[in-house]
Structures are given as structure tokens and as C-alpha cells.
Symmetry: C2
Subunit: 452 residues, 2 copies
């Protein structure tokens, strides 16, 4: 009995209250995503290792959990499988595999865990859920507008009223870099440095750009492009950026796309949330167009992010298939909601509405029959399993926060009634047996529905 009882490092057990909060958020996310016409997809937790390697950059390769080959190969130390690292690469694989079974415009959502062997920290876990929406098959900025609207509506429905969606475009960034004198071959490495602006500040990025071989003048011009007045409007940035990327055709087209996304979003929930931020870079290498990231004042990281990645499906199928999506981080949303006390009071805090007590060992079968009656009346009923003294059973119900207890003693049995005790008020009263479920239901804070 020297067994370890902790979960694995960086992973968590979710006790009932945790699961109820998680299920509440997931339920809102799924419902909103479905309203937007996204359909559910699920992929295996485990992928062939070659599906994942080489898709996320060097850090990704290192942080992927790798699974040993089975049987006699176990001894060789060879890994042939790996745990899912995000939901986007599996989606690209699925699209390549099932293209002919999927609609021309495939809009899917996926809410599943991913695993990364990262160093655990506050709000950073080795198993965590992503809530992704992606639309496959169109290059139209309507897609960007729709995914931004969907995540905005999710966050508003959850009670967030102070988030912004930072918006940028990879080609605008490249145009800025080119205009600043950063050679094309150094764009990718420059983006990695710029991505850290929030974390390490202007001086930090300047040092990192230097370390990555970008000369001081080009670095200064790049950073100068991000300098801004207080509360710059989207119109300000569109004007400023247009003059800066003037000579860069793809950059100008990127600006056109940003303009279209803003215009299309005007009458959607994303309209008031979108804020152009020319320094937004996003870490992942597969983005090719518009990129987004959600910020709230009281969280250093983001609640989610996304963008357009028109090349990823082609890495599997050879056929270029345009794609764009947004991913919400469930754990971060839960952290902020917990700190701000945003969970609805109607979430159950206990597993039962009613404790069905046992009068004595001989009548336990009747307790089960009464429990059946109350359950078919829509109530969640826990049966006390042992013929303990009634006081002990009541104490148990109170300690569990169960609001009602039902007792059928000899008098109630003779009268065809049930004694219903309200443990919140301490009062009790007899109720005709067949009316008990409705009587209790009317007095519950939440509203259970009877089964058909």
C-alpha cells in the first residue's frame, strides 16, 4: 500500500462541482456554435506520430506525449503513436481523409482535451480542453466574420462584457517587416520575437530581434510601426498601415481583408469587439491570413485565438483547401469565471434534490419504489442505503446540502402519504404519495422536468 494516489503531474481530477461548472460552459459553447451552423466532430485522443510531428514547430515536437510501440517492440523504446496536441491538425487530417463525405463548406466544432508536456504553472496544465470552430472550403471574409461572431456570442452568453478581439493579418505583418527592411528569409524568426511583445515589452523584443540577426535599424522601424496613440481606432490603423505597407501587394490585400471583416462584422456580436492590433503575431506557424486573439483585462494570456490557415489541409491531401477557425481555451475561461464569480446560481451544488430515507430494514424495498416514483416525476433522488437511525440519515442529507428528505413511517404508510422534510427551513408536512414529486418540484430553485 505504497501506492501514489495523486493524478499525473500537471493533470487534474474533476470532482462533481468541477464537472458541473465545466459542463455548463461546454454546454453554452456547443449551443452557440450549433446556432452558427457548426457541426460536431470528434477525433481520437491518439494519432499516428507522423501525423503530428513537424506541424507545430520545434517546441511542439518536443512537447508532444509519445506512446511506446506495443508487444516486443516495447523494449526498443520506439514510439509510433502520440497524444493529440491541438484540434486543428487532426481536423486537417480528417478533411483530407473524408473530403468526399464532407460538404463543400465544412463547418465543424470540436470540444475535446489536448495534451502538452509543458511545465505546469498557474492556469497551464498538461491536459486541457480546447473549444474549436473552423470553417473549411471558402476564402471569403464572411468566414472570419462568422467565427469571430460565434466566439463573441459564446463569451457574452457566459457573461463576459469586457473582452476585445485583437485582429491582424499575417501578410500585413510581412508587409510591415519588408517595409522596415527585414529580409524575407528572416520574417518567420522576426514573428516569433514580435509574438512576445506583451510578455517582454519593446526593449525585450528589440534585444530578441537583434539576437535573431535583424539589424538595429530594421528592428527600430518595425517597432515604430507598432507605436500608437492612446485608444487608436480601427480607422486610424487602417490609414497608418496603408501608408506603411504601400509597396507590398499582399500586405495591401491583407488590409482589404481586414476592412471587409470589420465591415461584415458591423451588425454581428463581434462588431464592437474587434480591434486591429498590428503587433499581434500568433505563435503557430501554419497561419496564412487574418489572425485573432481574445484579451480580457484581468488575464495575462488570451482566452482564445485563431486565424486563417489555407495551407494545412494541403500538407495531408496535396490539394489546397482554404480554412479558418477560432479556438477558445476552456481552462482559462473557467479560471476567469471562477475568480469573478460568474457561474449561475442555478447550477446544482449537490447531486440530489431528495434523500429517500429507510424507515427500517423491512421497508427498504418500499423506499426504492418511492424513489422510482419521485425519479419519474423529474427529481434527482438519492436513496440512503442503510437502515441507520433517522436522525443520522437527516444529518447526512443536511451535510450533503440535499434540500428535501422523504420519510414513510408506519402512519404515512397507512395514510398513503409521505412525510416531506424541507431541510432548508426545518419544516415538514405530509403530502399524498402521488403528489409528492410535484410538491417538491414546485419548491426547488431549479426546474427539473418529468420524464415522458
Amino acid at each position: 500500500m505504497s501506492e501514489v494516489t495523486k493524478p499525473a503531474r500537471g493533470m487534474r481530477d474533476f470532482l462533481p462541482d468541477d464537472v458541473r461548472r465545466r459542463a455548463y460552459v461546454i454546454g453554452v459553447v456547443a449551443e452557440v456554435y450549433e446556432r452558427y451552423g457548426f457541426e460536431p466532430l470528434e477525433t481520437p485522443a491518439v494519432e499516428n506520430i507522423e501525423t503530428l510531428l513537424g506541424k507545430y514547430g520545434e517546441e511542439g515536437n518536443r512537447l508532444i506525449f509519445k506512446i511506446l510501440k506495443r508487444g516486443e517492440h516495447e523494449r526498443t523504446g520506439e514510439a509510433d503513436l502520440a497524444l493529440r496536441y491541438d484540434l486543428t491538425v487532426p481536423l486537417a487530417r480528417v478533411v483530407a481523409e473524408h473530403r468526399n463525405r464532407l460538404p463543400r463548406f465544412f463547418k465543424r466544432y470540436q470540444i475535446q482535451p489536448v495534451w502538452r508536456a509543458d511545465r505546469p504553472a498557474r492556469g497551464r496544465f498538461r491536459e486541457f480542453y480546447q473549444c474549436d470552430v473552423d470553417a473549411i472550403g471558402s476564402t471569403s471574409p464572411v468566414v472570419e466574420a462568422e467565427v469571430c461572431a460565434a466566439v463573441s456570442e459564446v463569451l457574452e452568453r457566459l457573461g463576459f462584457d469586457d473582452f476585445v478581439i485583437r485582429l491582424n493579418h499575417r501578410e500585413v505583418l510581412r508587409g510591415l517587416l519588408e517595409a522596415s527592411g527585414v529580409p524575407g528569409a528572416l520574417h518567420d524568426t522576426a514573428l516569433v520575437a514580435i509574438d512576445k511583445l506583451d510578455k517582454i515589452g519593446v526593449d525585450g523584443v528589440r534585444a530578441e530581434l537583434a539576437a535573431r540577426g535583424i539589424d538595429a535599424g530594421a528592428a527600430a522601424r518595425t517597432l515604430d510601426a507598432f507605436a500608437k496613440p492612446s485608444s487608436p481606432s480601427n480607422a486610424y490603423w487602417l490609414g497608418t498601415l496603408e501608408s506603411r505597407v504601400a509597396g507590398h501587394a499582399a500586405g495591401l490585400q491583407g488590409l482589404e481583408t481586414l476592412r471587409a471583416i470589420l465591415s461584415l462584422s458591423a451588425s454581428t456580436p463581434a462588431g464592437p469587439r474587434l480591434q486591429i492590433d498590428p503587433s499581434l503575431a500568433r505563435g503557430l506557424s501554419y497561419y496564412t491570413g487574418a489572425i485573432f486573439e481574445i484579451a480580457v483585462p484581468d488575464l495575462a494570456g488570451s482566452l482564445g485565438g485563431g486565424g486563417r490557415y489555407d495551407g494545412l489541409v494541403g500538407m495531408f491531401s496535396g490539394e489546397q483547401v482554404p480554412a479558418c477557425g477560432f479556438s477558445l481555451g476552456l481552462e482559462r475561461i473557467l479560471v476567469v469565471m471562477g475568480e469573478r464569480g460568474m457561474f449561475p446560481a442555478s447550477l446544482p451544488t449537490t447531486g440530489a434534490d431528495v434523500l429517500a430515507t429507510i424507515w427500517n430494514a423491512d421497508t427498504a424495498g418500499d423506499t426504492l419504489a418511492l424513489a422510482r416514483l419521485l425519479r419519474s416525476g423529474g427529481l434527482r433522488v438519492e436513496v440512503y442505503p442503510e437502515a441507520d437511525k433517522l436522525g443520522k440519515q437527516m444529518k447526512y442529507a443536511a451535510s450533503r446540502g440535499i434540500p428535501f428528505a422523504v420519510i414513510v413511517g408506519d402512519d404515512e404508510r397507512a395514510a398513503g402519504t409521505v412525510m416531506v422534510k424541507d431541510l432548508r427551513s426545518g419544516t415538514q408536512q405530509p403530502v399524498p404519495r402521488n403528489e409528492t414529486a410535484g410538491w417538491i418540484r414546485d419548491r426547488l430553485a431549479h426546474a427539473p422536468t418529468p420524464t415522458a
Copy 2:
């Protein structure tokens, strides 16, 4: 582009229709389990390897997926983590870890995937879901009655009307073995052979008992105890077994427990389902008391099984904590429901109720505004993302099985109406813009609800 696009061997991608069917079944299971007072628990997919090894017997150890240590240790081939093999061992670990945060009677349900490196076959996958209910903390047969009632109600709610719950008791089996002359040291190995009776028949088990060192006379007496008249009643078995295990105190107590379970279950959904079967053995080694298994005529394997395991938590905590549970196999349930056509017709077969078309590129923003209006009216709306010809957009809606399309042309815009096309009948009619959501909702087969 030589990428493999298949999922890993023995694992599956679930496209939208698959997910909807799975979510329907999981929803029914969770709702019924909650009515029975079980609370949700979730544990990580990954466990420390020592948590799992040695809990399932030799075959289990072999079939566990093992995860390589990270970083420089990756090269050593050492595994320190493993994928969850069932939901019972993680529950026992959680109970040992969180005992002081959990109620005295902890009733939890858990619906999550598990992974086994088994040889894939029809209905046997390497990633599959289990739907477990377990009650911790009581030795009362009320617990057995409750878990049997809960799974019976699940199956009835899903439309199963021909299942039986085979019921036996490990101590009755041991009593039979003892009475038949099988030495105590060979009981465990004999149970492994008896567990195969359904698969390999009486002659097969006789041969296997011999191979496991049990003498022919003892084997014959054991098998004779399983011989039965056609449709033996529970009363028949209780009588027969009582005389056979007469000298074995624990076996007689086991019979008492079976009698109590049957009596307590009389007025529960499990009542008419429970059938004593003295040859039921169950494969897993951790069972200590009553054992159950669900059979339907058209499936060779079982839909689920369970039993009492009073020693497992103690392997983690040192403290003996009684426990009993039942596990339903989601994939088997889905296979049978699919073959029998048991899914409700009301399950959506497409991701949208309405296609919002784009009249021309200039009015795409208005299409998004209309989509927002319809979504807040409770409809699932897909926006066609491109300004294609209207005929092409309609064809797309029809090919997707989307029942309605909405069009706002110049006339409708001027009149404040929306042209609603019913793609099932081919008819169309103008509807005032603000009444469109309700108008469509009234004509849908399923009943969406407007958001608050």
C-alpha cells in the same frame, strides 16, 4: 505530401452524424444516472504508470498503452505514464486521494474513453467509451439494487425491451468450486476458465479446466452445477444452489445477498430483468461479491457488466472501503441500436435549420444581420459564405438536407420581408422579417427554443 490521413489503428473519427448519435445516448445515460443521485466525475486520460500496472491481471498489463518519459529520458525508452484502461481503478485512486472531501456515500458516474491495445475486431476498438456508475461506502445490497435499476432504466429509455441482467456472486461460485472439490488455490484460475463458457461451450471449459490442473471429477461436478432446465426461475436457482453450497458459509451468505438484491429490486426497473446465472464469472480479478452482466439476444458479448469490489480502494489507501458499480459499453449499445434502427427520428441529420443566402457581395453584411436575428430566435443558421448564383446556393442547401433557405432581394429589402423557401416542398413565401424565426420554427420537425 506522403502523409497518412487515416486515424490510428483501431481508433475512429466521428463525423457529425456519428457524434449526434453518441451524444444522444450519452445524454440519456447521464440524465438517468443523475436521477439516481449519481454525480459526475472526470479523471485524466493519462495516469502514472504504477497506478494502473498490477490491477487488471497479466493481460491488462500487456494491453496498457505506455507513454515515454519526456526530454532527455525519451531516448531511454522508459515509460512513466499510461493511458486509462478502465474507469474503476482511477475511481479507486480518486476515492483514496480525496476521501475527506467526498461524502460518506459517494455515488459517482463517469462517461469517458478508455484505451486498450487489443487486436481490433468488429465492435472492438482501441479507444472506446465506458459509462460507469459506482457507489462507494456501503455494503448494503440496496447499492446493488440501485445500480441495476439505473442501468435498466437507461436501457429502457433507449428503447431496449429484451435485455436481461445475469446475476451471480463470487462467493457462491467459490462455494460451488469448493463443494465440487476444486482446491482453494485453484479457484482464481478456474474462474478464468468458467468465464469463457459462453464462448467455448461446456467441452471447451472442461478442457481448459483440465489444462489448468483441475481434476476431471471436480471439473465435471462444477459443470454439472451449471446444468439447468429450460428457463430456470430465480427460485429454482436459489434452491438448487443452497443445497450445493450448504457447507460453505461465505457462499450461503452470498446467496442471502442475491435473495436480498432480488427482493429489493422487485419494484424497480431491474426487477423483471434480473436472472441468476451460477456460471457467470466476470473476467476482472477485483470483484468480491455480487456480479452482473447484461445480455441481449443479438449480441455475442455483453452490453455492460459490473459488481462489488470491496478491496480495490484499499489497494490505494490501505483503508477498506466497500464499493459496487456497473459499467455500460457505449460502442456496443451504439452497434445494436444502429443495427436495430433505434435512434429517434428527431435527431438532426444536418447542421442547420436554415441557409442564409447572399444576394450579392454588397449585401453580405445584411445576410449576417439576418442570420443573427434568426439565431436569437432559436434557429441553427448556416451563412452561405460566397456571392454565388442563387441557384447554386439553393442546390447546396438541398444537398446538405437543410430544410429552409432565406433570401433578401431588392424587393424584400424594400418591403421589410424575407423570402422563405421550404426546400422540402419547393414552395416559397414572403414573411415579415421580424416574424421569420417563429414562422420557420413552427414548421420544423424538432422544437428549438429561443435564447433569453
